[in-house]
Symmetry: C2
Subunit: 370 residues, 2 copies
Amino acid sequence: MWNLTHDDVEAIAIGAGILGTGGGGNPYIGKLRMQQILKQGHTVQIIQLEELADDALICEVGWMGAPTVGVEKLPNGEESNRVIEALESYVGKTIDAIACSEVGGSNSMAPLEAGALTNKPVVDSDAMGRAFPEMQMSTLFINGVACTPAAMVDEKGNCIVLGKMTDSFALEKFARDLCVQMGCTSLLAPGVMTGAEAKAHSVPRTLTLVKRVGEAVLHARAVKSNFVDAVLNVTGGKEIFAGKMVDVQRRTIAGFARGQLVAEGLGNYRGDYMHIAFQNENLVAWRGSRDSRDEVVACVPDLICMLESDSGEPITTEQLRYGLRVNILAIPCTDKFRTEQALKIVGPAAFGYPDVIYVPLPKTPGQGIE
Amino acid sequence: MWNLTHDDVEAIAIGAGILGTGGGGNPYIGKLRMQQILKQGHTVQIIQLEELADDALICEVGWMGAPTVGVEKLPNGEESNRVIEALESYVGKTIDAIACSEVGGSNSMAPLEAGALTNKPVVDSDAMGRAFPEMQMSTLFINGVACTPAAMVDEKGNCIVLGKMTDSFALEKFARDLCVQMGCTSLLAPGVMTGAEAKAHSVPRTLTLVKRVGEAVLHARAVKSNFVDAVLNVTGGKEIFAGKMVDVQRRTIAGFARGQLVAEGLGNYRGDYMHIAFQNENLVAWRGSRDSRDEVVACVPDLICMLESDSGEPITTEQLRYGLRVNILAIPCTDKFRTEQALKIVGPAAFGYPDVIYVPLPKTPGQGIE
């Protein structure tokens, strides 16, 4: 158990941006909001999964939508309270603690903000150990935890409870349509789970992990050491490319930022090109020539993370632009996404790449995403 | 107070089909479902608005969607119970009675079915005195009765509560999107109102009215008298055309059946043509030539009703086809739709016909829709 500080938020924003693999919402805006909330005197208690009673009631809180819209249409500040109230109204019980749905991007901040504003502790865990674009891509829902009731609100005052869905794919479809109708960003509180379920199926200690990743970058920046090494030292994985963007195609469609990019190698990678396809998050990275994708270097569910080469700042897919210089890392995902059952939902075929074979990145026990 | 009979359902289906002005869902299917429910031993008590306590809680129940889909995708029979349960869960109170949202089409049957299956009385009233395609077009919502919370279910088991909407237009937008996602038909229970609100703003005695209209047609059919006169004798209004369809354009788009038709005059109307534009319901009727709309004969919110010329059966917009012979009636709407405030929401301009001027059809006090 610890109380969140201003510096924690600074570090979490960077670490969550990196583990966001391009998505999860812009962490800079989330950071500013969270630091303002702490300045106003609110506090957040972060607790471990082990501290939850088996019959405690927990809900997740996170933003849904296109990152391209999330940086322009800002929340009004009432969303957290309203989404939790709606869920509590529907189930007729009090929610005991808040969990993170995806630790990547600004969705690391959403549960912290909700915890601060509703005076509920926030669990140091999430259901992805990264960011992913669709609701069903959750270690909880993959393992049978109910994804409903789920509440959803926008900044205009609309509030909807998805009481029962046939499955998490239906939740994704309905919530995505509602999100588009809400103007492409909404705050969502999906699922009301028990402490026992959270303990069994969450990815543990991910808030701590992104904080450590962020601290490593901040430290490397302060002492002018290599931030790529600093990140990999915490997360495991490897650098797969360094270069500059020479082509970015992106459109905001059906509630997502979808597209592809080509980067031209610099330094050790001169002469090589890297192609990356994304749907909010980076999905598949290929090494190749300017015009061809020759070899898959990394793919979902492993993480493909982009850091701005000068500062180590994470690059989200809505910030991609011609000329940007980046280091690209591949980081091993949680073991909970590496089962046969999970790969059907989060493997490359689930994103429309049936020909891409997932080869798990080697993982060092005790390091990185658990 | 009266208990619904098998013969009542027969008559209501015809009368509601006529007052449905082409929409409200196919009354034939609603009739078969309702008669089966009565055969199974269920009963429905119809009560008058005056019998409601001022603090009683009432919700509406009705189908949303495109009539073209409603005749093919049938309910599974559990929808009524699930939609009321969801609403009761959300408000944490028991609903005392069920009201009709639109008496036109099969939506006259939806509250009767819900009343039978949940053992709640059904109020002899509605919020339109006809059918209309969009949620905000309600004497209740126009007069400030809250349209939320609203519950919505489909035949697959999905259930959604629209907890709070900025207004009834937002409810229409969100519910319509959800309805499309649900496969273009959903059962909706919008609004939880008090007895006092229902008494102040409903259109009274409309179940009785459609039953009387249906009985008039059945009687005319039995004694081979003129069913047009029989209908107009109960509803007021006038015949505006008789002829056969020579052109029907219709598409199912954005959750509606939209289109236009041209009918060629027969008998007294030989040489004339009538053009009608519809969005689920018939909106505007023009007299003209084969290719031009010359003069508005009737328009929303007054009712433009089509009866099959041989049988007096109401024709819904999904049944329109080349060669069909019809009598077309114009019937005066409820006074509650004739206020300046209401006409902004249900007048021709609200449907995209700003150049059509609404001239209220003359009305005989004590006759027709109150």
